[in-house]
């Protein structure tokens, strides 16, 4: 057990090292001149040279790499060239919005996946099963920004059921006093139910758009697992010993079917990280995704670069946590070979 954990941790450190090297090569060492990217195509050679010096591009390559990663891990992420603020404060300001959206989306994704997978497997609904599989196919094949667009056209433009792309709250609601940076929870703490409801309303469409592809993946996984496990002999035994069908299902089939979905954790995080860049702009959501989207448009190098490295580190860490959890929960994988996603 200890050896497995140690091996996974070492592997993850190696992966993070590899990722920083790769990011360094892509962003710094390849022909596209980062200094030129920063100052823009119209700048004088003098300006390019001074930026080169400033970000250390005239130093030896190993020194450059060392500066690159030491600055990153110290949290010294440089300054946005678009508005002069430090990247860490820009990201800090917007972290709450992105986390709130991601948590909300994750919650509805998992809830819907479990409910629908149960519906089609436990309740034997072949037609619903076909529909669900169709939706899962489409959901996996549709880019999140297109889902966002369709949701907005249907539920905002045509039906007027939900608010349009106006960010986290309606115009009439004021942000609640900051405690957790999550508007829903802060509003509840402050006792403002109108604000709470407004923030929930504003979360629904972006939440669905962000979570649909993860939902499609997880629901297919869960459905396949449930079907497979229901054929296992131990369930026949459980039924034979006199357990009611639902009890056998709940106690023996569900927990086992859930395990493999845990490995989808890394995938879901990856979808959410990339998805936030793709959909936040569509909803004018003031999160990290729209920050990065704007930074790409403005060629704001420091922001994009930080986001990319942060994404890689988070991705590796989540995959590590998933693997370790898996080893803790499932005794069968406490042997040295641990599958990575």
């Amino acid at each position: 057990m200890g050896a497995v954990i140690a091996r996974r941790i070492v592997g993850s450190i190696g992966a993070i090292f590899g990722a920083t090297v790769l990011a360094f090569i892509i962003m710094r060492a390849l022909p596209g001149n980062p200094a030129r990217l920063i100052v823009g195509p119209l700048a004088t050679p003098h300006a390019v040279a001074s930026v080169r010096h400033e970000i250390g591009l005239d130093k030896p390559i190993f020194t450059q790499y060392w500066l690159y990663i030491s600055h990153f891990f110290e949290g010294n992420w440089g300054y946005s060239y678009a508005d002069g603020k430090s990247v860490s404060s820009l990201i800090g300001e917007r972290l709450g919005a992105t986390i709130e959206l991601a948590l909300f989306s994750f919650a509805i994704t998992m809830l819907c996946a479990v409910v629908f997978a149960l519906l089609v497997t436990y309740r034997r609904r072949p037609i619903a099963d076909r529909i669900l599989r169709g939706v899962a196919y489409l959901g996996f094949g549709t880019p999140p920004f297109f889902v966002a667009l369709i949701l907005l056209i249907v539920f905002f433009k045509s039906l007027h059921w939900l608010p349009g792309p106006e960010g986290r709250l309606g115009l009439q609601a004021n942000p609640p006093p900051t405690v957790t940076h999550l508007y829903t929870i802060d509003a509840l703490i402050a006792g403002k139910f109108g604000t709470f409801w407004s923030s929930i309303e504003h979360l629904i469409l972006p939440g669905i758009a962000l979570g649909l592809s993860s939902f499609s993946f997880i629901v297919r996984l869960l459905r396949a697992n449930l079907l497979e496990i229901s054929r296992e002999p131990f369930l026949t035994v459980a039924r034979g010993k006199g357990l009611r069908r639902w009890t056998a299902f709940r106690r023996h089939a569900l927990p086992n079917a859930f395990l493999p979905t845990l490995t989808a954790g890394g995938l879901v995080l990856g979808e959410f990280l990339a998805g936030s860049v793709l959909i936040e702009r569509v909803f004018n959501w003031p999160g990290i995704g729209s920050l990065v989207f704007d930074a790409i448009v403005k060629q704001d190098y420091a922001v994009v670069q930080t986001f990319i490295l942060l994404a890689a580190v988070m991705f590796v860490l989540v995959n590590l946590i998933v693997d370790l959890l898996y080893a803790v929960i499932d005794p069968r994988v406490r042997i040295p070979v641990v599958a990575t996603a």
């Binding site: 962003m27 436990y122 094949g141 549709t142 667009l149 369709i150 079907l227």
Partner: protein, 312 residues
């Protein structure tokens, strides 16, 4: 196989298998390839995604040739027209015919995604083959490199590549191809390891075949079904990835009629009522990607030597 005590509504696994499963070995390579092709073509369920892709290809080839409007022909008097007989998909804010642009976008997406898929398969397949057959230090080094690529969420690494190499459709294609490489490499490496341990490989060595000949005559042909399945899936991801990068502004630049870029352009008009500018390219994307993933899944049912493996 019984349907189990708890659950009905699951298809019997046997009904998903082809009538005559591919025999693992015994027939000649050409014979097996012919039989595999026949299995795929004769399959009724694969006709739908395959047909859709053929239609898309025809659409992408013939519409730009015969359609009266060019994809970048502006006509400001008739801008933002709703779909009609003259403009089946309407016109955009510059009066360009959306139908012509969607068709041209299909051409771009299909061509670039094909190049990306083939390039990724060649590089990744070669890495996987070398790692799986030669092994040793090269295996370790290459797989660590693949781990470094896999340490990034795929789309974000593709973004990084485009930012680093300079924005454009070509660099976006490089980014998307790079992201797909480790999937091929890992898959084919494990396939190579699996095949290498089969008895007939040992038998080939025993009758005195050289390693290069064993690899080219036995290992590679046995890897092909898995490679093709992966390529079909990767094709869908490539279309999706390219469109996503273009949507963010990293891929195709205006006025290129790339689907993702078209969706961005039409975004602000969608909520004022001119939905057709963004919706039609989006439908094109959805149809292409869904067809590719259905094709890949069905091919897996028919061809994957490992049986029902990972059929989600």
């Amino acid at each position: 196989m019984s349907s189990g005590p708890l659950i009905l509504g699951a298809e019997e696994a046997s009904s998903l298998r082809p009538e005559s499963p591919l025999e693992p070995s015994g027939a000649s390579v050409a014979d097996r390839a012919r039989r595999a092709t026949r299995t795929v073509i004769a399959d009724r369920k694969i006709a739908v995604p395959l047909g859709v892709i053929v239609l898309l290809v025809l659409f992408a080839i013939f519409v730009p040739i015969f359609w009266t409007y060019g994809p970048n022909k502006q006509d400001l008097i008739n801008s933002l027209d709703a779909p009609s007989f003259t403009h089946p998909m309407g016109t955009d804010q510059l009066g360009r015919d959306v139908f012509a642009r969607v068709a041209d976008g299909a051409r771009i997406s299909l061509i670039v995604a094909t190049i990306v898929t083939v390039a990724g398969a060649l590089v990744g397949g070669l890495i996987g083959l070398l790692a799986g057959t030669i092994g040793g230090i090269s295996d370790g080094v290459m797989m660590r490199l693949m781990d470094a690529i896999l340490a990034f969420p795929p789309l974000i690494l593709a973004m990084a590549v485009t930012v680093g190499l300079g924005i454009g459709l070509n660099t976006a294609a490089i980014g998307v191809a790079l992201v797909s490489v480790p999937w091929y490499a890992r898959l084919l490496r494990s396939e190579a390891l699996r095949i290498r341990s089969l008895p007939f490989i040992e038998a080939s060595y025993a009758i005195g075949m050289k390693r290069s000949r064993v690899i080219s005559r036995h290992v590679i042909p046995h890897m092909l079904p898995v490679l093709f399945i992966q390529m079909a899936a990767a094709f869908g991801y490539a279309v999706l990835g390219l469109a996503s990068l273009s949507f963010v502004g990293l891929g195709a630049q205006v006025p290129t009629p790339e689907w993702g870029a078209m969706i961005t352009e039409g975004l602000s008009y969608s909520l004022t009522g001119q939905w057709w500018i963004s919706i039609f390219p989006g439908v094109g994307l959805l149809v292409t990607v869904t067809a590719a993933s259905m094709l890949s899944d069905r091919m897996r049912d028919l061809l994957d030597p490992r049986g029902e493996y990972a059929r989600l």
